[in-house]
């Protein structure tokens, strides 16, 4: 079969594009696994929040977060909050400032200590 250089190049291009995209998506899985096991902060006994703080956080969560993130935090309109691989400071900042057009800010509703309770509760979602 006498294929023109353009056709052979097209076949190679298709193969390269498929392999690149497939490779990236396949690489995502081990990265995800490694991130959740290595990079996600694990609470130690020294930093374990008190039951009162968690109960307060759960109450605030039910009041302000469950509508979008689901009662169990598995996500609804908003994203799943289980196993968040971001820092407490970043979670707190997200709650406090929100994201324009996506998530309201709760900086006026909750003061820093209450946001810390929310963060502590969100951290228990595993």
């Amino acid at each position: 079969m006498n294929l023109s250089i353009e056709h052979r190049a097209f076949a190679s291009a298709l193969l390269a594009a498929t392999l690149s995209l497939g490779g990236a998506w396949l690489a995502a899985r081990p990265i995800q696994t490694a991130a959740s096991s290595v990079l996600a902060p694990t609470p130690s006994s020294a930093t374990m929040p008190s039951p009162q703080l968690l109960a307060q956080g759960a109450e605030f969560f039910a009041q302000s977060c469950a509508d979008c993130h689901g009662d169990d935090g598995h996500g609804d309109e908003g994203p799943d909050l289980h196993n968040l691989a971001i820092s407490n400071a970043r979670i707190a900042s997200q709650i406090k400032n929100g994201t324009k057009g996506e998530m309201p800010s709760f900086g006026r509703k909750y003061h820093d200590q209450q946001i810390a309770a929310l963060v502590a509760y969100v951290r228990t979602l595993r």
Partner: protein, 143 residues
Amino acid sequence: MSIDPTLWPKLHGASTHFPVALAMAAALFEGLGALWPKSSPRKAQLHAAGYFTIILGALGTFPAVLSGLFMTKGRVLGHDAELFHHLFVWPAFALLVGLGVWRALVGEKASPRGFSIYLTVLLITAGLMAGAGYWGGELILNS
């Protein structure tokens, strides 16, 4: 040994602008080269510029995509602005790699019809890259 959590966002920010800019530059050079009069030596120069920018752009997608995957902890879609960013990124990535490979292999031997198809797909890819860049910027500015 712990990895600086800001490493991947920094690397993604540093690497991601190259393929975006190079894809757009390739579309510009190849487009202008197609429009330029045949008699002018500038035509070949523009196509040569387009040839190298598309290949470098295609190569540049790999560090950008890898650092992005590490930054998002392997999330390939996400939600909201990140989802929009990824809906542009993935087709643009595949198309840019494909275009780079096609252009590298065909070189100067492209037929007018083959080159027209290449140029059309390149313009679409440049648009997708622009969309990916826009939603990437939205992610940074609104988070």
